[in-house]
Point group: C2
Chain length 472, copies 2
């Protein structure tokens, strides 16, 4: 672990109390509550939880912690899957729950100003009321915060057509580790004004500063969609079909892949019996097309159906109503939870150029059979983003703890060999950091560490994340 | 100017000659040729022009220059409008003309691998042969290089629907100032793997390293388009109509604004007489809609026509054929050249949230009338990106040299006050650097300078660009 930070003392608590009053929490229960996210069963409670309400309060907290050498971990809705919000060195847990205002929806310019604690789905619904669309929608959109989405560069099913979080960010207000406050850019669709600090902040996982306001781009809300669930007898054919759909020149608004177990476990988990899986079905694609013109959508749909005729598929299910669309999306969104409920597991968030998905999937299975583990795979196939859930099942603790990291290394190496990388949308955080030598060489890692040291010379900002233990 | 670099000596020439042979040019004519771009009439020749053909050669050049303290300026097609490719400290002019291979068009993954010296239009035509589309298209696309587009984060008319250069970049090979070679990311549509070095390089104007390969995203080529030229009796109404079109929920594939003089001067410059401007016409919008379905495009077109009925417009010209579309686009692309041919001028590349365009335009005219200069404005109105050409005309050299910088300061301050910034797609380069205190405060500028110093500790990489003279 290396670095020793100052432990929070009475005088620090006194300072925080004077600043925040009731919004300081040092009790064990609160600290434990803010000490875990959705990453396995990890628990790293902060020493104290602070709940600021303004940029100015955060600036003062950071100024104090910078001077006193206290580590600070920004904490959102704790839905993260890489441990980015865990207070691995204790210190201050900076909970952003109370900075949850939608400051302004600018209909004239198709922009929205938000604080980091706004729930993604709340934002989406608010702007949809004005026929506008904020597309990034992680599976956890009902509870995750925009701030966390920005920190991790979150994606979601609709990224394949509309882009990930980074594609919707125009400008950010950031409190730097020393308490200084900057804006990273301008509220414009184009910007050729020096270095892109906005995109440097997006995906930096709270290690460079705290995002306190975001100006986000909105687009016109698509008026219609169709959704279909396509069962394939071979998972590899489902993967192949993904690339072939794009080759038609069609960009679906979602193109999701689920292995048989992923969908079966989820149906069981939800107690859902209206959907039956055919006996020999190996995987599903969930395909959504959207737009404003019904005829146009149906024409694309027909071209996809003609393509699917060339694959071995079972009967295709078309969602007949909004309710059935919701049901299918519910199933897709619950997969992670269902897998989690089934066994101890580890989730990897691989991404490759999408045509290489069949090779990735085959490779994962081959590696699994050599190491003796089972995996359940699903994800955003249109983006080449495959979530690999490695299932503990009957494996001994010894194998799980000693051999699994080697198997994961092999999976990540394969991913990188295919032109991909080790995280598409979950981030590196705490659990993947010691694999960072696979996508990046030492020179590149040291350059990134140089950026970290520039922004955060004392190393107090979300320490213990992103960089492998070998990088000092 | 500050910094003194080593002057290139015999021993350096000997090293370069051994490496490059005939591809070293030290004659005055070649150096002068590579010493200017399209920025006013500025001339800053390098001491020697080198024309490497491989990443390895560039790495060796940089390693030598780093050791010997020789400044290096990467030079593309010299179509830049901010002086980014000018060798303001002499030294090595690194001309990328010979690194002009399209390495691979990956139809399976909708990606293309290119070297920096590929002409943008050549790339577009090559991928169009495979029904794929690379959208960014600066007015100079017939001669500019992809490398320069990446360095400046270039836009163009189609950015409004498809995005600017940064939106099409997946991964970059970069030679760092010390000669080290890195890849910035992965060849994937999503990436949540630490800091976004790819987007840090895009728009960094050759000050952080030399881009030697780029993996670019492609999209399906739209099959159809319609193009119309709409004359407005009031320029402010044309600006207003821009925002209103987007409020309909329609995203045109281009939405260009041209003041009367911009189009009239261009018609004169081109000797084009088939298009006549109505007497009281004040400005034009050039509106393009694209897609795959004719009916769909026509439906959107009709909604735009209905909207335009609420404005005071002259007769709308629809392009009847591909030839007429080309003609209208030619006129739009020639505006810059035509204005240039007319008078000494200065071009500013302001960008604001698009609803604020009328305020920006009115403000520019008001500032102009106070300082006594005329301006011709045109640009990518759909992005809020207004090119302001300040015309010298009869102004004395004294006013031009002494007062104009004050007027430009006022224009830029207005731009920033409206939520915008001082360059949308041309970059800061040499000519705008002393205005950088307007969009950014000292803290932010110093943070950017810290990034510069991290990548380029000896300051040899395209020195004299981006940072104001006040930043050390």
């Amino acid at each position: 672990m290396g670095r020793n930070y100052k432990t929070i003392e009475e005088s620090d608590l006194h300072f925080f109390k004077a600043l925040l009053g009731e919004r300081l929490h040092a009790d064990e229960e609160t600290c434990r509550h803010y000490g875990h996210d959705e990453t396995e069963d990890l628990s790293f409670p902060p020493q104290v939880v602070l709940k600021p309400e303004t940029t100015e309060e955060i600036s003062q907290i950071m100024r104090h912690c910078f001077r006193e050498d206290i580590p600070v971990t920004p904490i959102g809705a704790r839905t993260g899957l890489s441990g980015g919000a865990l207070s691995v060195y204790g210190g201050v847990g900076l909970a952003l729950d109370r900075m949850n205002r939608i400051i302004k929806i600018d209909e004239d310019n198709h922009q929205v100003w938000v604080e980091p604690g706004v729930i993604t789905q709340v934002l989406q619904e608010e702007v949809a009321n004005k026929s506008l669309y904020y597309a990034p929608d992680p599976a956890s959109r009902g509870s995750c915060f925009i701030g966390g989405n920005l920190a991790e560069n979150s994606g979601g099913p609709h990224a394949v057509k509309y882009g990930v979080t980074q594609d919707f960010v125009l400008n950010l207000e950031v409190v730097l580790p020393n308490g200084d406050v900057i804006w990273t850019g301008a509220n414009t669709l184009k910007n050729a004004t020096a270095y892109n600090l906005t995109q440097l902040m997006v995906g930096s996982e709270g290690t460079l500063g705290i995002i306190t306001k975001a100006v986000l781009k909105l687009i016109p809300l698509p008026q219609r969609s169709v959704l279909m669930l396509v069962p394939f007898f071979k998972a590899s054919e489902a993967c192949k079909a993904v690339a072939d759909i794009f080759k038609l020149g069609i960009t679906p608004s979602a193109l999701e892949f689920m292995e048989r177990d992923a969908i079966q476990w989820t149906l069981d988990f939800m107690g859902e019996s209206t959907i039956q899986l055919g006996e020999d079905v190996d995987a599903h694609l969930l395909i959504e097309l959207d737009g404003n013109d019904e005829n146009n959508i149906m024409a694309d749909c027909e071209r996809i159906m003609n393509l699917l005729d060339t694959f071995k598929t079972d009967e295709i299910l078309f969602a007949e109503s909004e309710a059935q669309k919701d049901q299918l999306w519910q199933i897709r969104r619950k997969v992670g939870e269902a897998v989690k409920a089934n066994s101890i597991y580890k989730e990897e968030d691989t991404v490759v150029p999408r045509y290489h998905l069949p090779e990735l999937l085959a490779g994962v299975k081959e590696i699994g059979s050599r190491y003796g583990f089972k995996s359940v795979c699903y994800g955003h196939a249109g983006d080449g983003n495959l979530h690999i859930n490695i299932i503990k099942g009957d494996l001994s603790d010894e194998i799980w703890n000693n051999d699994l990291p080697l198997a994961i290394r092999e999976i990540f190496q394969l991913t990188v060999d295919l032109g991909g990388t080790i995280s598409g949308e979950h981030g590196i955080g705490w659990v993947q950091k010691n694999y960072m030598d696979i996508p990046f060489d030492q020179i590149t890692l040291e350059l990134m560490k140089g950026i970290k040291d520039l922004f955060d010379p004392k190393g107090i900002m979300n320490p213990g994340k992103i960089f492998p233990d070998t990088i000092k």
